[in-house]
Symmetry: D2
Subunit: 288 residues, 4 copies
């Protein structure tokens, strides 16, 4: 059962210095915001402070639409902070990108339909017709944008227009087998989550299960990460592995790996829609 309390969440980072926690908790406390959870982290190497704080809006004196402004004036600017403010009542809007494999798609849709996730999924985009029948069964719009080297720039432009029209907050590459252009990625910085079918940084690029089989590893993995311009190099959100043996063929690795892929991708989405992931440079702080 989803929590129905109206809450706000701040994800903050700034240069580390004395007094940040006290300043933030004082700001919330003075304005009658009961802190529900508070997590902080200092990256001493980068001298960077990170925080996630959630509070109850019931008694909070500052109106929702002014919180951002008040926080900037009273705390944020003083500490040279960057932050993201989220309200629990706002359901994130997701677009799913798929190609031909259905396991991640079904996994996501089951969570959506059963109410496990409080999100909206208004559309699915694909470069192939193949999975359209699933979208149809779930009554979700399915848009096909075939991609080739010639039309890629134009097709991506159309995709972005569609995403904007639907107010999409988060793009999920659910085994989407196309590389997005820098322009596309720049339009959604740290808002595109991919699943790569290996324990990165091992087996970057194509056909990782074939490479894993050739190398004779005893573990296969999956990695969910934000998409950046550098392929398979974006900030990692979640990873997991499974044991394999010499008995298993490439087909077995693919089959077992799909179980990893769908769970690790959905785990990353869950963290993201709970506002628990703070990417910074090439890494993530995960407040779970």
């Amino acid at each position: 059962m989803p929590d129905t309390k109206a809450t706000a969440t701040l994800l903050i980072h700034c240069p580390d210095q004395v007094g940040i926690v006290a300043a933030i908790t004082d700001f919330l406390h003075k304005n009658h915001g009961n802190i529900l959870s508070l997590d902080q982290h200092v990256d001493e190497e980068a001298n960077r402070f990170f925080m996630r704080v959630a509070w109850d809006l019931a008694e909070f004196m500052i109106p929702k639409e002014k919180i951002d402004d008040y926080f900037a004036t009273l705390v944020g600017k003083r500490f040279d902070m960057q932050w993201r403010l989220h309200f629990s009542e706002k359901k994130p809007r997701l677009a799913l990108f798929v190609s031909k494999k259905s396991h991640c798609l079904y996994d996501i849709l089951q969570r959506y339909m059963s109410g496990e996730w409080q999100v909206e999924i208004p559309l699915i985009i694909s470069n192939h017709e193949n999975l359209g029948y699933i979208a149809k069964r779930f009554d979700i719009d399915y848009h096909v944008f075939p991609i080739n080297p010639e039309n890629k720039a134009l097709q991506e432009k159309k995709e972005i227009e569609l995403l904007q029209k639907h107010d999409i907050d988060l793009i999920i590459l659910a085994r989407y087998m196309q590389i997005l252009s820098k322009d596309f990625i720049d339009a959604y910085p740290n808002k595109i989550i991919n699943i790569h079918h290996s324990f990165l940084p091992a087996f970057k690029g194509g056909r990782p299960y074939h490479s894993a089989h050739r190398r004779g590893v005893k573990l296969i993995g999956a990695t969910s990460h934000y998409v950046t311009e550098d392929l398979d190099e974006g900030p990692i959100i979640a990873q997991d592995v499974k044991k394999v043996t010499h008995k298993e063929t490439v087909s077995d690795l693919i089959r077992k790996g799909q179980d990893l892929e769908k769970i690790v991708l959905s785990q990353a989405i869950w963290l993201e829609i709970q506002q628990k992931v703070l990417p910074y440079k090439n890494k993530t702080v995960v407040f779970d």
Copy 2:
């Protein structure tokens, strides 16, 4: 390399209410205590607030010996808190209790000798002579207290005297095969850590690997926990499991299980000496 900064750590719990975090951070900030890490947790069911906060003592205005008193007056009593104050410069003093198996003992001693852990281990206690030769090799006092139903109360009394003489903070049952009496446990509440060779609450009591084999489980486990009067029912600190197959005999389970036991026990000790575990009733909050 151990951190040489002088720090203090508070482990706190109290009934949950508004303003606790702000009060604590304010207390630290006003007295120039730079917060190094802060973790909090609210158990909504129990309506209980838990916190771990560590700060730099370098600029802290309150002298070390007065912190406890000041904190009580200015914060603790107001919120009906219970707390534990620890200084990084204080090395925890451990006593190891062993019987005949050496795997946990070696694992602990290797961490101690190599400087992985900043602790003192002035003595080892056993109900058998068997492992005395190891203690000798490591130049650690080894005291044998044979236990039988008749002498148990007396022997435990002597053990407690010895522990007190050596200012022992923490007792580690490193596969010690005797059940401690209520009196003994009461002398060291939440200061005795045991390793049980199953994933509790499955296979409580004796010969858990035999029971696991008989049941045909596909996983064996180990559980480290604080010792309480109820056998194998104390607050769990850490647990882990390993896969097993039908091919493995009871001896195989015992052999593989020992790898789990030593790692899970040492993990619990590490958490404890880092002041990261807060037991409350029958459960633990682990700030890792």
Copy 3:
């Protein structure tokens, strides 16, 4: 891509004695059956021999319909064997039993629809209407048999008739929240697979996540097993666990546990339809 070679598989067990492997391999070799895989296991405690052997039928001299008879005469009776013969071309026919939760159902249906599993799923049975809409979307018959203490015997009788009419080989309890009667179980011995939402034998019976939360375990688990008359005591096929922390509520455990449940159930089904599980008394031999 499914293997299209026509193969036969024998799952055998018998009292252990000298010469069994040689007798079986000789039988196959002499009749031009090329062995594709052979796994054997001796349970020394029970003095029982177990084997799984698969061979290519292409050159095999004994016609398919006579293999069982020939094997009995030439090998099986001599060693007092029990065995099960399976042909790769025979697709197992599954019936799914569900109640209100959809995660296992979707997981199974995705594997079925995508061709990951070579099975037939002609029908879904439930004690509730709730998941009928999913069956409809997948064009699978959905039969509702509401169960109460009065009608249970009768309803189960009707269910069995339906299962027999559809030549069902294997019954999957995909979070079906009813206890089957002894009569029902006797009709499908070792042919009903259940998923229990704990690492058995811990937390048998109802509401295991609530019990796990109350106990403060650091791991939650799931267990797939054959259903026997003794509730939650049947031979275990597969188990897995996930780490949890003090931060997680019962709802979190339920949510995370569902990921375990669906994967562990599907893993058991996969093993079963590959003819890789041999239950014997209260345990299983899993030839994976």
Copy 4:
């Protein structure tokens, strides 16, 4: 308690063809060798057959010293086999190579001293004096061979002489921080086991924990493998991973990683001394 039955084990590989299993089991059966365990594997891609078979020598008609010859004549040559014959009564003789870190060394010595492993460890070799005191405590010869670019060839020559003098079967690099030359490796093909502190092939080469921390992975790993001329590219025997978080510094990764390293290395040694690993080209078949 170690098994005291006198047994023989054959590890075999050869081009795959019809009738191999039957030929081997027939050879054993006719000569009254009761098969205790039999595992086989066919690598269809490489068209290669692999087998491990162990049998009881009690009634076996062929004298131990003639088994190799008889097997060659009656079976091995016919199928163009390569094989390794091992007798349970022969204790493998291990040499340990170490540098400055003690965790793997203690882990191995504890298993040796407690009788968990039936091996002989007559000597420890190091490029540093540091761990000599441990060898002394355990009454094991400790030989220091300082290595620099100038003396490397000569020192390795002396090491090999020492190893040969002690009839060493297996060399364990227990966090030995020197790269062995091709000549050294050629003297002990597939008889040198190393532990690398990452989940290979990720983070090959030096300082893998620093690289892992920089990349922001959520898992760290360890890999035990046979040493070949290509650094960190040898056949993998065992791998495992542990979860890490953004909170953990490089020191934390090193500390946690050591737990993985020692367990994964000892797991590989265990498999090897049980004659359960068959390296072929760049991969291993592990009959566990």
